[in-house]
Amino acid sequence: MDTLYITKKDWDSFIKGKAEICNIFAPFEYERRLFYNRASPDIEKDIVYNRVRTVEPLKIFFAPFKERVFPEVDEIPEIVIMGVTTCDINGLKIMDRVFMGDDYKDPNYTNRREKTLIISSDCLSPYPTCFCELVGIHPYPYDGFDLNISIFEDGVLVDIGSDKGRSFIGEDQKFLQASREQINKREQNRNKISAMIKESNRAFDFVDITTKLKGAYHTELWKLPKDIENCVQCGSCTNNCPSCVCFLIEDTGSQETMKKVKVWDSCLFPGYARMAAGVSPRPTLYDRYANRLLCKYWYLVENYGKTGCTGCGRCIDGCAGKIDKRKILTEVLREKTAIR
């Protein structure tokens, strides 16, 4: 991969220039957390690079909470999203496979994907709830972006991930070829962060999680970790998850003009799988909780060849019942192995 170097000062003025002509969204700090906001030229200097994931998952840009899908949204603007972390890049990889992976392409999603440039960045200050390393993801990306930036001393290393990324930089002479030494030094930094995340998760065991979870449907098994009963079925975990894609469709409009509106749904809601006559294949909270995790770590692997969980930890941070999924999974895997 081609990696360039630019001084931080030149990068800032490059982005300021871009903010004059592009719709740029980037992370900004608000009450010590990061949220995406429009990076207009006057607030460009407040963009927070290379810290940690944002509060909102990246999916809000591609599959909003509620939107019309028929007729499809006709004006989708071109945007640039900055500060995307690897956990969200991996969530996007699942969404791409779901919404554009086969003959049936979601109209709005496909249009938005085409019109978006993604600038990811390394994660340098992970939260205690971050656990990407447990699911085989590193806090820095190797692919899935148009450009990736790593803050490096007083400069920025810029990886070119696509032609779209390359043309965003264009012929700007301030970007120089990065040296081997700079790249090696970044590698050392990255390894440090990886080690830090592994260390903060050493109490949890996710080894061979997909294989071990196969067949773990039994309601009784999921009654064993006591914390599950604290789930209030609010849907926070699914709303905050970068790879939870479930939605329902509302029919609005009339016989003359039919309209269909897509709205996020949550498999934790009792009505999610309930059929017209009232029966549900997942009648208890334990069935629904199990389903979410089985979907994340097993079904998505079968469906799209990739684990849905990206280790972002939003489902833990946002949980109204203060449930730590890592603890639940560690317990369930231990119990299941013991039962065998």
């Binding site: 899908v69 919404f99 392409k105 979601d106 109209p107 469709i249 029919d251 016989q255 799988a273």
Partner: protein, 276 residues
């Protein structure tokens, strides 16, 4: 511009037939025709109310009109029951995997249907009749709760029955509870499988009905010697998108909408809560 996967084809309601106190058949004419294979389903939109998946009950050879036989059980089906001639509805599809008729060639085909589950079997039966020389024999076992609940009565008891003289075809008919008007069998539909004269090794069984009926029919079929892979089931789940995006219809890791709705028993037997 990419074709919108959610675009329904406009259809005019041609007729609404009352089949039983809770079941109606709606006949619609799609604006530009509609092709499907037996077992595949379509999503029927009632504008402003909602959308639900149904396997058409009409012949797949009829490209001009579609029939949906629908039991009134909820919000959307309630609106379907209120449809009148001339109303406009929408249809998307066809979706899912059909009955694999190529695999049925040269075989004795056992159809077992209960209640509104006879709807997909009607489409299959009409397709089989069109190509009857491909198959050795058709045995059609039909059940319903009471004589009043029987759908397609004029066909099963009369029109189709008359075909038995012409084709290698027979019907085994029952109701759970009969009344004085009923001159056929009594008992649940699995009873029609007792003393079945069929070459099981060279046969396939196709089952459609309420979950409890499918469960006990499957168990009975296994008991009389059918292999798991010879039993075809039409599965049903809550569904929205019908194209594998919304994930509502998953049974474990399989999608009813794109891996099904027709499954052989061995494909789903280890999945969670298959009989709901």
């Amino acid at each position: 511009m990419m074709e919108n996967i959610y675009r329904p084809i406009r259809c005019e309601v041609m007729d609404v037939i009352t089949e039983s106190p809770t079941i109606k058949t709606v006949v619609v004419k799609p604006e530009n025709g509609f092709s499907f294979l037996a077992g595949q389903f379509a999503s029927l939109t009632i504008p402003g109310v909602g959308e639900a998946p149904f396997t058409p009950s009409s012949s797949p050879y009829d490209k001009e009109k579609l029939e949906f036989t629908v039991m009134r059980v909820g919000r959307v089906t309630d609106a379907i029951h209120k449809l009148k001639k001339g109303d406009i509805v929408g249809v998307r599809g066809p979706y899912g995997k059909p009955y694999p008729l190529d695999h049925y060639k040269g075989k004795e085909i056992l159809l077992v249907g209960g209640g509104v589950g006879l709807a997909p079997l009607r489409a299959l039966f009409l397709a089989l009749i069109e190509t009857i020389s491909n198959y050795k024999r058709i045995v059609f076992c039909c059940g319903a709760r009471t004589p009043a609940d029987y759908i397609y009565k004029d066909m099963i008891l009369d029109k189709w029955h008359n075909l038995c003289e012409k084709y290698p075809l027979c019907f085994r008919i029952t109701v759970d509870k009969k009344d004085e008007s009923w001159k056929y069998g009594e008992g649940v539909v699995t009873k029609t499988l007792d003393g079945l004269d069929i070459d099981i090794k060279n046969s396939v069984a196709v089952v459609c009905g309420p979950p409890i009926m499918m469960k006990f029919t499957t168990l009975k079929l296994l008991e009389i010697g059918y292999k798991e892979a010879q039993i075809y089931l039409s599965m049903e789940r809550k569904m929205y998108c019908a194209v594998g995006h919304c994930r509502h219809c998953l049974i474990g890791d399989v999608f009813v909408c794109k891996d099904g709705p027709v499954f052989t028993y061995d494909q789903i037997k280890d999945k969670p809560n298959i009989w709901v």
